[in-house]
Amino acid sequence: MNNAAAIQVRGLVKKYGQKVAVAGIDLTVERGEIFALLGPNGAGKTTTVEILEGYRSANSGEVKVLGFDPATKGAAGQRWRNQIGIVLQSASDAADLSVIETISHFANYYQNPRDVQQVIDEVGLREKINAKARELSGGQRRRLDVALGIIGSPELLFLDEPTTGFDPEARRSFWDLIRTLKSEGTTILLTTHYLDEAQALADRVGVINEGKIIEIATPDTLGGRNNAPAKVTWLENGVTNEVLSKNPTEEVIRLSQRFNGQIPELQVLRPNLEEIYLRMIGELK
């Protein structure tokens, strides 16, 4: 079983009344990888993830998470939750409890919890260990959420928009935490609105729109990004010129010869993930 994929989805369909939220999704997330699910609001992203987390049931299709159907009710479903960790979007619970009280309490729920003190260090809440949740900043509060998500030593961690509202520095150190978890062998399913976050963390990204997966690829090859023309810009006679080129190196050499060496204000820009992504979901609208 341990060799099987962490997440396997075949033909997943979910309807709310007449409205089709998820229209037949196939998805495989391998063990040990960070997979980022991207998509605009209302694309079916949250519904898909909540089915994988066991919060919702599907209308049809096959779903296996760590070899188990998350929709299973009763004691078996509860036991399966020992192996997963969920970091939900905005929560504001346990406001009157301190960081250490909440994390220690949640450790009791799991068969194989991590060391509470170690988790507090890992998420960087050592200095806030006795602070009440209501006294934490947005970023610290999110770190507490992550601590509660990983306290049970999950094999698979769901992260739903984990860095919304973070300042750039907090985001960087949060990314380091996620990389540490990956290096320990944790599989991570990440949903995010930040394309730079997907670029920085994900081994693979999947783009979902109107209930369907449009493409699954590495961040560098999504949407033919690796073969897309690069934009070369330079300054000439006080005007910024630009050329789109499949072969920017030749373009630069040509320019360099024309300017006899130094090209003023030279820039070579590969399309970033965000441009590719916006083009992908824009095309379909």
Partner: protein
């Protein structure tokens, strides 16, 4: 067996955690634990009459206040706080852990019991201090008192959990739940002598547990011969136990069937 022990263990831990959170919310401490004492003070000071030879209104009122305390700490508190926990994401987070729903229910039931014991002790203490309240005199009465508190707490807890699906949001919950409780208190003979109420009110109140709890508490705190002044001419102890049991089972079934972990 191991699973049951684990469920109980987590339930105990949850009740300790919930009690800790309760104590840190000053307004809920005052409202839940001291409000009945404040009411007792007001009613006991205003109504100084005796309603029967040797029975003061405050004696009658304490019985009713203990009974409605069961409804306040159980039904009212849970039906308001659970929708708030739903809004805050507490329940959704718990749902994503291996904690079983039984542990959550046990935690709530124990919290209600702890609060009920404190509240009752406060009422008895201040009632004796301020209004010379008479304590139950026999072991049988203390036994009746004990099972009424236990059964009443359990009943009130499951009905609170069951009702927690009704309020649409945590913010609006109080406005939905509190009027129900206050009306039931008026109809069930907490603020007035039950037999002085119009008979339609009495009959309506008899459908709900609070009327039976107040009557049961009167059987504990009022002299035995006061029973002749009750509607049925006696305390109807057996019937009280039966009504509470029926509500307990109904509440439990509804709770398990309808409990919602998140706002859809």
């Amino acid at each position: 067996m191991k699973t049951i022990r684990e469920t109980l263990r987590i339930g105990l831990l949850r009740s300790a955690l919930e009690f800790k959170q309760f104590l840190r919310q000053r307004e809920s401490v005052v409202f839940t634990l001291f409000f009945p004492v404040i009411l007792l003070f007001i009613f006991g000071t205003v109504f100084k009459d005796t309603i029967a030879p040797g029975v003061t209104f405050s004696q009658y009122f304490v019985a009713g206040m203990i009974a409605s305390g069961l409804v306040n700490t159980g039904f009212q508190q849970l039906a308001i706080t659970i929708p708030m926990e739903r809004d805050f994401g507490t329940l959704k987070r718990l749902r994503g852990t291996p904690m079983s729903v039984s542990s959550y229910f046990i935690g709530k039931a124990l919290l209600v019991t702890i609060l009920m014991i404190i509240q009752t002790a406060l009422l008895l203490f201040f009632g004796t201090l301020m209004f010379g309240l008479n304590m139950p005199t026999s072991l049988t009465l203390w036994w009746n008192f004990t099972w009424l508190v236990v059964l009443g707490s359990a009943c009130s807890t499951v009905l609170g959990i069951a009702f927690s699906v009704v309020p649409k949001s945590g913010r609006g919950a109080s406005a939905v739940v509190s009027p129900i409780v206050i009306i039931l208190q008026f109809f069930s003979g907490v603020f007035f002598v039950f037999t002085s109420l119009p008979s339609w009110m009495q009959q309506f109140a008899a459908l709900f547990p609070l009327k039976w709890l107040t009557q049961g508490m009167r059987s504990v705190f009022l002299p035995a011969d006061f029973a002749t002044q009750e509607v049925a001419g006696n305390w109807e102890i057996g019937k009280t136990a039966l009504v509470l049991m029926v509500w307990l089972v109904a509440g439990l079934v509804i709770s398990i069937k309808t409990f919602k972990w998140s706002r859809e």
